[in-house]
Each structure stands twice: as structure tokens, then as C-alpha cells.
Symmetry: C2
Subunit: 250 residues, 2 copies
């Protein structure tokens, strides 16, 4: 039975799992679960992941959620996956685990909270929260500085000085691509000071083409819609209509 990947391409951890499967030629079925339609809260999906979060996989009788655990599992379970994604070498693997665990309370907390509360929330039927966005800015900037000055130290173009991408590169870059939803000035405010980070994002994109761009195309489309809605909201002072419009066009 084919691997099933439950995903919403607007969710950054979902994107990392989809790109990983495609780049590595894993035969899988993508099952769309749309967060903007609250499909992840359905009783059917609760059977797959009782925590009602995306992504999740079903591999035969085995169910798994949390994207980093999924990526590590796929790298080990499918023999065709090149070793560089999640090396069997104990020391290299431990360093990748270190980045993956660091990610949650740093880059993810900063980027996801900022984007949700500064632009995305109305599309999910939630109010924007400028205070939460302001609180997340510090996490995001500090995390970018850590990536630039700690994780990207070394000779290679990838994290931990690597010459080929790992699951940590893919996860972190997919987290950062959500900054595409921000307007250019705001995105540059965050990414502008970090030249190595910018190069690294491009390196991961190049190493995983054409799948990277294909999986991200929904995000690029959503960007246009969100920014149009943001302008309308600024004109009229209301959030109405944003959710329906995004849901129907994505």
C-alpha cells in the first residue's frame, strides 16, 4: 500500500514532507486537508492524528505525525533516500537533531507567529494580533542571526557546513518561505541583514527543484490574494470576505 501524506501546502511543515518525498522519488499519495476549511478538525482526520495537526502520514498500518519525526522516519524507511538527508553517522545525525529540536522554540515560534498575526489570521477566520506579532519579531530576528552565525558556519552552503542538504535544511527553509506572504519591505527588514541565509535559501531551492517551486506555487498565489485583501482591509477597516476569497482561489 502506497504511503499517504496528509498535507496542506499552505502549512510549512507539510511542504517540507511533500518536497522530501518528491525529491527522493518516494511513491506516495498526497491527501489534501485544508486548514482554511478546518478540515483538520474532522472526525476522519482525528483518526489519523488525534492532535488534529498537519502533516501526518500513514505507511501501511503505521501512523505518524510531527514533521521532523516524519522526515527522519522517511529517510530511514525508504532505502533509496541518499544518506546526506539524515546521515547514519552518529555524530552528524546528532548535530542535525540538535538543529531540528532548536527549530521549534526559535525559528518556528518566531516566523509562524509573526506571519499568522501580521497577515494570515483573517484567511483562517481569526483576528490579527499586532501585539503577538510584535512579540514574535524578536524570536524571528534572533533565530535568523543564529542561522547566519552559528548553523551556517563552515565551508559548505548548507547548515552545519554541509555540502549537501539535510532534512534540517529543508524544514527550516520551508519555515522561512512563509515570509513570502509579507510585503517586500517587511520581508527585507527581516532577511536583508543576513546574506548567508539568503544564499542558503536559494541553495536549498536549487537542490530540490523543480519540486520546491511546484509545492510552493500555492503560497505564491496566496501571497497576491492576501496582499490585495490587506489593501482592501486598510481602505475599509474590516476583515469581512477575506476568508472566503482565499479559500475559493487557492
Amino acid at each position: 500500500m502506497k504511503l499517504k501524506v496528509y498535507a496542506d501546502r499552505m502549512s510549512q511543515p507539510s511542504r517540507s514532507v511533500l518536497i522530501f518525498c518528491k525529491v527522493n522519488g518516494i511513491d506516495f499519495e498526497e491527501i489534501k486537508v485544508e486548514i482554511s476549511k478546518r478540515e483538520q478538525l474532522s472526525p476522519e482526520f482525528k483518526e489519523i492524528n488525534p492532535l488534529k495537526k498537519l502533516p501526518a502520514i500513514v505507511d501501511g498500518r503505521f501512523k505518524l505525525f510531527e514533521s521532523h519525526a516524519i522526515l527522519a522516519y522517511l529517510a530511514c524507511a525508504f532505502p533509496g533516500v541518499p544518506d546526506h538527508w539524515y546521515p547514519a553517522d552518529l555524530f552528524r545525525r546528532a548535530k542535525i537533531d540538535s538543529v531540528l529540536h532548536w527549530h521549534h522554540m526559535n525559528l518556528r515560534r518566531g516566523a509562524a507567529t509573526y506571519v499568522l498575526n501580521s497577515i494570515l489570521a483573517p484567511a483562517l477566520g481569526l483576528p490579527l494580533n499586532q501585539q503577538a506579532a510584535a512579540g514574535a519579531e524578536n524570536f524571528l530576528s534572533t533565530s535568523l542571526s543564529t542561522i547566519e552565525n552559528v548553523w551556517l558556519k563552515g565551508n559548505g552552503r548548507f547548515l552545519l557546513g554541509g555540502f549537501q542538504p539535510t532534512i534540517a535544511d529543508l524544514s527550516l527553509v520551508c519555515e522561512l518561505t512563509q515570509l513570502e506572504l509579507l510585503d517586500e519591505k517587511d520581508r527585507n527588514r527581516f532577511l536583508g541583514p543576513y546574506k548567508k541565509v539568503q544564499l542558503w535559501i536559494e541553495s536549498v531551492r536549487n537542490a530540490t527543484r523543480p519540486h520546491f517551486d511546484e509545492v510552493h506555487s500555492v503560497l505564491y498565489k496566496a501571497k497576491g490574494i492576501l496582499q490585495m485583501q490587506q489593501r482592501k482591509r486598510a481602505d475599509s477597516g474590516t476583515n469581512s470576505g477575506v476568508k472566503n476569497s482565499l479559500t475559493s482561489k487557492m
Copy 2:
């Protein structure tokens, strides 16, 4: 050369690594880095962990931080560690990884933020923040409910229905023991509704005795001091003197 563990027993991830080493008879040297004295910010410690966080290890020429990555590394690098802590079996390991990654943005975010902002901050020279504590309550309660109803489902007394503890059991329980710093009424408000969680904490404690109690003894001492200081603060309406007192008595 002996494994070096840089730790502060008041830090819950530090405790999990120390207990793991002791329970598994790993020959190591504990190097105390006191957060209340800001020793983790020293140039010497920055050489060990550029992110200035605890715990960190040095194993020969290999340096590592992030407690979950350390626990996984130690379980694999020391052949005497029984398999149940982090099974070589792909499926069981993936499920443990799932819990370990879930932990950060859920239980840790809730418990650490609540305890810091409701009682611990003055001991670290920081102001209490009731608003941040209130925000963390929801994460903490929801996480406890997830542990009770999702992670503790199954036949065994441990997470994922296991009959023996894993590194996830140890990490999550060490996170929860910081609730000991709260007054009894507050602690019961969180833990009271979750009978399986209470039993599980005791099971992990019993499975790792006497090291569990020995490593936690600093926390139990600190509890008395913090609560005395809290009463004084309530009487006088000031935080002064709290930090020095805790630092000198711990």
C-alpha cells in the same frame, strides 16, 4: 576522556540528561553552570555552546547541545544503555521522536513559561509577568490533556503504552517536576484532573530512583526559598533581595 555534562540542576532539560547518565552508569563529569549567576553567558561557556543554553555535552572532540539531541546521542553512543530508552526499531523510535518534537511548542512552552513568569523570574533577576503566565496556562493545560488522552493511551505505564521508560518519558517528566515550585493549590489546579499523568510521573520517578530524587533535591530546596520570598514580596510589594538569597542558598 570522560564525557562532560554542562548543567544546572534547576534547568529541567539539564536534569533529564544528568538522570539519564546516572541511571545508565555512564561515566561522566558534571560541570555546574549556574543560570542564576548568568554563568551560561561567559566566554568560556560560549565556546561549548554558542547559543549559551544548558545543557551541553563534550564527548572527546564532539560538542552537542539541545537536550533531546543529547539524550538520543547518548542512548546510541554508549553501548551499555538498554534499548528501551531509544529503541533501534524504526517504528518505535519514530513515535518517540514524535513526542520529543511535540514537546517544545506544547508542554515546554506551557510549563516553563508559566513557572518562570509566575514564581521563578525574580530569582533570575527578571520581573514577574502575570500576562505571560496567563498566556502559558492554556498551553500547559492542553498539553497535560494531550499526555493523559493521547500519549498515555495503551497498556503500559509509560508514554506510547510502553512498559519501560524512554528518553521522552524522562524529558517530559523533568519538565513537569518544575511545577513543584508552585504552591500546592496552583499545582493541583493543573495536575489534579489528570490521574494517569500523576501515576506516570511516579512511575518514571520509581524507574529512575535514587538518581531522580538526588538530581531533583536542589529543586525541592529552591521551592522552600521561593515560597518564602513570595510571601515576603506579597507583604512588602518588592522583589529586592530575592536573587541574592536564592543564589547563595541553592
